[in-house]
Symmetry: C2
Subunit: 301 residues, 2 copies
């Protein structure tokens, strides 16, 4: 199967000028650039990150690329090329490969990414997907988790929680939004919300050696979180803080630049939910004062 | 497990100047460079590319990095950084992760590669490993499969066949040898022998739009190929041509530069076994004349 699939994949992949040599040799060749390269890799497994029999290969492929593009967005980077590796169940290897590739390709076109190489394997296990994405960013201009300072506002994009009801497969990575924020030059630190707001915010505070105070009532809760709360026994707020795979951005914005923050970009709201503080730990700010906020979130492993 | 493993992995990974930001953020950051980037990705699955219960995680990890470094060598590239992604069986995830990482780390030190990022997942399936390697090469100086011309000599490194008896796990990627050949500036095309001499030679001829005539009696046959032939029903030559995973280099050297080719480099023989010809296809040159050589080789899928 491999040779005909590779030929088909090569023919379907768009050629972008930064890719000197794409699918078909031992390695791909990307043109040199003065910009920094930004690299992320993710594996998704059937039964853990998606259920192939429920969502199909195309949506799994979309998620695969989306997860990596969300990581590039959270560094303020522009995608250059991606590398796709498939471990395919023997029974329907060819069909699954085509479906996954269609899903990746669909989103790759939308975000002008080139699929520049990969690897296909057939085996006796369930479907495993891996994607490595390479992006670029002006030298030393990448957003890092470590850049937040006490006094910076905590801002989230979109609405949070309940992504298991569908968004975890069909989210849009916040690349275009990140590009516009990059032009405004107002972000001091960023990450994407993949493990859940609580855990991802904690990660930023640890990397930035500070703490965070969150106004719980300001957290934008998704309709899906409310729906899920009806049967889960948890509150919508619990879902917004604890659920993973929102693939929204969590940003630090210095207080003096906050007036430059748009209320929304392309219909996606940008919501200040609190501020970074010098006292380490996560804290919830409520009418009565400040209480410790237990880090919550969903980690696959 | 993920957080403690990541912290341990970060602490164990050596820092090289080209990696501005390694393990621990949403993406890694590599410094910009005027050189072309060379990228390869490979997945290895338990039961297909290695048998974890027989070889252990450390040797699987060595093979994982070796496969990618062999691809970089076949493009004439120097490694920059690698990205490691693990799908770990739930029962012994932590132990397996550490063993695989040790194997990768051991070889990474030997070849001065930085492990700059990755992804760890725990699931209910067997062990799946993925590694993406990024290398660099002077602009437009990468060796491609497509550069062979009729009249160029076909040269192989090392000895071929029977790698299933052990070499497929414990081979040394030919990076140092490739570096010395690059300095001599005598290579017009290259690939590594991963699917088997027959198939890989065919790939070079197809990419270069030419054919190849092989002197069968010149093919360097490994001692393992002879050993395997005692029980397999195939000849040692069959194994040398058809077995995969030799991870030796297959090179095209223009005839006028052949006198510059060393007989060996660091103890690894370099053997001319025939020449590229304008008539397409693979041909064996024997005392009686020229016969068609069926492409043989082992492909995992």
């Amino acid at each position: 199967m491999e040779h005909s699939f590779i030929a088909w994949a090569k023919q379907r992949s768009s050629k972008l000028p930064q890719v000197k040599l794409g699918i078909g040799d031992d390695c791909a060749l990307l043109a040199g650039s003065a910009e920094d390269s930004v690299v992320t890799t993710d594996s998704l497994c059937d039964g853990t990150h998606f259920i192939l029999s429920e969502c199909g290969g195309r949506r799994a492929g979309r998620k695969l690329l989306g997860v990596s593009l969300s990581d590039l967005a959270s560094m303020g980077a522009t995608p250059v090329a991606v590398f796709l590796s498939l471990c395919l169940p023997r029974a329907a290897a060819g069909d699954i490969a085509s479906e996954v590739f269609e899903g990746v390709l669909e989103m790759a076109k939308e975000y002008e990414v080139s699929i520049a190489g990969g690897d296909t394997n057939v085996w006796d296990g369930p479907l495993v997907l891996n994607l490595t994405a390479i992006g670029k960013v002006e030298p030393d201009k990448a957003w890092r988790r470590s850049g937040a300072k006490p006094g910076d506002a905590i801002v989230v994009t979109g609405v949070l929680g309940g992504s298991i009801l569908g968004k975890h497969l069909d989210f849009e990575p916040r690349l275009r939004l990140a590009k516009k924020l990059k032009e405004l030059d107002i972000v001091s630190a960023a990450t994407d919300i993949s493990d859940g707001l609580g855990i991802d915010l904690l990660n930023v505070t640890v990397a930035s050696r500070c703490g965070a105070e969150v106004h719980l009532q300001k957290i934008p809760i998704s309709e899906a979180a409310s729906r899920l709360a009806q049967s889960s026994g948890n509150s919508p707020l619990d879902h917004a803080i604890g659920d993973g795979e929102d693939f929204e951005l969590l940003l630090a914005i210095p207080k003096e630049k906050l007036p430059l923050l748009p209320a929304e970009i392309d219909g996606v709201p940008l919501t200040p939910i609190g501020e970074f503080v010098s006292r380490t730990g996560l804290w919830s700010k409520e009418r009565g004062g400040v209480k410790q906020l237990p880090p919550r979130g969903y980690v696959h492993s």
